[in-house]
């Protein structure tokens, strides 16, 4: 009989209680994993947009609470394009439009001539024509979701646009949205002379960081975002989600720890006499402590495994909502699983501290007298 077998045997003695404790902690870890996967998915989607079209960085209004609220003067597109080291600057206006049950349908306004620089692959139809006013091209996902084909009509801000092309693109935001001429979108959304963001491609040999610094230095009120880690400069959403994620993780740890502590206290109380026997045959306090901590760890690691599996399932279930699936693909970076494991271990240790200390403090005779 190994020490681990003894730990396992002890947990099996109260199967129902052990299973319920595992489930309780697993629910907390499920929340941590599911929310983390969705957050990471959103981050990846946003990261794709930051570098959309091979852009080295994106420029938006510094301090905007959400990227869609960013307002950059349209003349800044030309000012950035004129900076040393800039090969190309493409302005885009983003409008959120409700489309047949999808309240977050994204519409992108581009200068039609800049579309040639974008990595759009036409599936059918054509790109926007120069000077066109009421034409739209749809991402393949959006077309599928809305049931539209070339020749169909999409209404954006009470303005009808004819669908002239269907495209595929790597970033999920544009794959799930539509592209219309910038000028008409500025008009119908009443945001004349404004773009949401400017994608910048630097000249060959130029240092993207130096160019980004120059943009921030020369154009006041703008922020250059080189990657998703800098996204909080122009969108506070991730900070809020991260804070909520942390709060939920802490809640999961707290509730889980209380559950484990309750289980372990009951277990230790019921086994007080047995602990007395172990002390009577010479077991050191540290070995008793290890027994309790290992039992707690075992419960929490099983719960972590269940929680991760359920968390993945829950995050995949979100994709059953079509409007969400167009712009979100849950992401499972290794850090997410490390976080789940950390929550499990933290819950185990916090839940075991008091019961273990109580077990170790018992004198052999005091424990043996326990009825």
């Amino acid at each position: 009989m190994s020490f681990g077998a003894l730990v396992f045997r002890n947990l099996l003695r109260q199967r129902v209680r052990t299973i319920l404790t595992v489930l309780g902690i697993a629910v907390g870890i499920t929340t941590v994993v599911a929310l983390g996967a969705i957050t990471e998915g959103l981050r990846a989607t946003s990261g794709d947009f930051v570098n959309a079209g091979g852009a080295d960085f994106m420029v938006a209004q510094d301090g905007a609470s959400d990227l869609t609220f960013s307002a950059v003067p349209a003349r800044d597109v030309d000012r950035i394009a004129a900076l040393d080291g800039v090969e190309r600057a493409n302005g885009a206006l983003i409008e959120v439009s409700k489309q047949s049950g999808n309240p977050y349908f994204l519409v992108f306004g581009y200068e039609p001539e800049s579309l040639a620089d974008e990595p759009l692959t036409l599936v059918s139809g054509r790109l926007l024509e120069l000077g066109a006013e009421s034409e739209a091209i749809l991402g393949s996902k959006a077309a599928a979701e809305l049931g539209l084909e070339v020749g169909g009509t999409i209404e954006i801000d009470r303005h009808a646009f004819e669908v002239v092309g269907i495209y595929e693109v790597d970033d999920k935001l544009r794959a799930g949205g539509a592209i219309v001429p910038l000028a008409i979108l500025q008009d119908v959304s009443r945001r004349q002379d404004v773009v949401t963001a400017i994608h910048v491609i630097v000249s060959r040999g130029a240092d993207p960081d130096a160019v980004a610094d120059a943009v921030e230095r020369d154009l006041t009120g703008l922020a250059a975002i080189r990657n998703v880690d800098e996204y909080s400069k122009v969108d506070q959403g991730f900070e809020i989600i991260d804070a909520a994620n942390l709060a939920i993780s802490l809640l999961a740890v707290g509730i889980g720890a209380i559950g484990v502590m309750n289980t372990m206290i009951m277990s230790i109380f019921e086994r007080t006499r047995e602990i007395g026997i172990l002390r009577a045959v010479g077991w050191r306090g540290s070995r008793i402590l290890r027994l309790v901590v290992y039992e707690s760890l075992f419960i929490c690691l099983i719960a972590a495994a269940f929680g991760v599996a359920l968390g993945i399932l829950a995050s995949r279930a979100v994709l059953l909502v079509p409007s969400v699936s167009t712009f979100l693909a849950p992401s499972y970076p290794p850090e997410l699983f490390v976080r789940a494991l950390a929550v499990g271990v933290l819950v185990a240790l916090m839940g075991a501290i008091y019961p273990a200390a109580r077990a170790v403090r018992l004198s052999p005779m005091e424990a043996l007298r326990h009825e």
């Binding site: 045959v281 010479g282 077991w283």
Partner: protein, 241 residues
């Protein structure tokens, strides 16, 4: 004079904030290899004395020396309990969820032995106490006498020089009790164990080399210590063979 295994001087122990005096200046010496029975009426402090010698509890006053070492100054009482004394309780105190073989292995965790070696030694001890073939049985599946023999095997797990037995036959029928006493005698003879046995049964005490009487928490001076001739118990071999 033979080497002293246990030396107790002026031992005092009370419970419930001093309202109940269990030991009231108890003195006792036990020579190495001796089989001593401690007898006396219920509540005279016999079991308390044994528990203090086993370092399961702390005395209020007095001195306990085991093999020359003062328990009052020893820091590593866990080590003492694991290596120097084996304890057999009246109610066997086996772990109910473990098999006989596993129960005997429990003290061996302190020896740092690998699991296969622990299993081998435990099986050997169970064979020694006559329980070969019962290794996989849990305590509820064993008779009272068998449980007590498992408890004896567990007490011998780390090969301690001293075996302390608190009413080991108290819950057994006469036949099972006789087997247990035969075993203790045989172990004492073959292994040179020092055995201190607490009982209120004079027929059990009669199996010892020496009988010590206690009354009101100390030696009963009015009852002379009885020295008996060396036991003629069988040598150590599996009980029932």
């Amino acid at each position: 004079m033979s080497e002293l295994a246990i030396e107790v001087r002026g031992l005092r122990k009370s419970f419930e904030d001093g309202r109940i005096a269990a030991l009231n200046g108890m003195d006792l010496t036990v020579s190495a290899g001796e089989f001593v029975a401690i007898v006396g009426p219920s509540g005279c402090g016999k079991s308390t004395l044994l528990h203090l010698v086993a370092a399961l509890d702390q005395p209020d006053a007095g001195e306990i020396r085991v093999a020359g070492h003062d328990l009052g100054t020893r820091k590593d009482l866990n080590h003492y309990r694991a290596h120097h004394v084996g304890m057999v309780f009246q109610l066997h105190n086996l772990l109910p969820s473990l098999t006989a073989l596993e129960n005997v292995q429990v003290p061996m965790f302190e020896l740092g032995l690998a699991p296969p070696e622990r299993r081998r030694r435990a099986a050997e001890l169970l064979r020694l106490v006559g329980l070969a073939g019962r290794e996989r049985n849990r305590p509820p599946e064993l008779s009272g006498g068998e449980r007590q023999r498992v408890a004896i095997a567990r007490a011998l797990a780390n090969e301690p020089p001293i075996l302390l037995a608190d009413e080991p036959t108290g819950n057994l029928d006469s036949e099972a009790g006789r087997h247990v006493l035969d075993l203790l005698e045989a172990l004492r003879r073959e292994r040179g164990l020092t055995v201190v046995l607490v009982t209120h049964d004079s027929s059990v005490a009669a199996r010892a080399d020496r009988v010590v009487h206690m009354l009101d928490g100390k030696l009963d001076e009015t009852a002379a210590a009885v020295h008996l001739p060396a036991s003629t118990a069988p040598s150590v071999r599996p009980v029932g063979t």
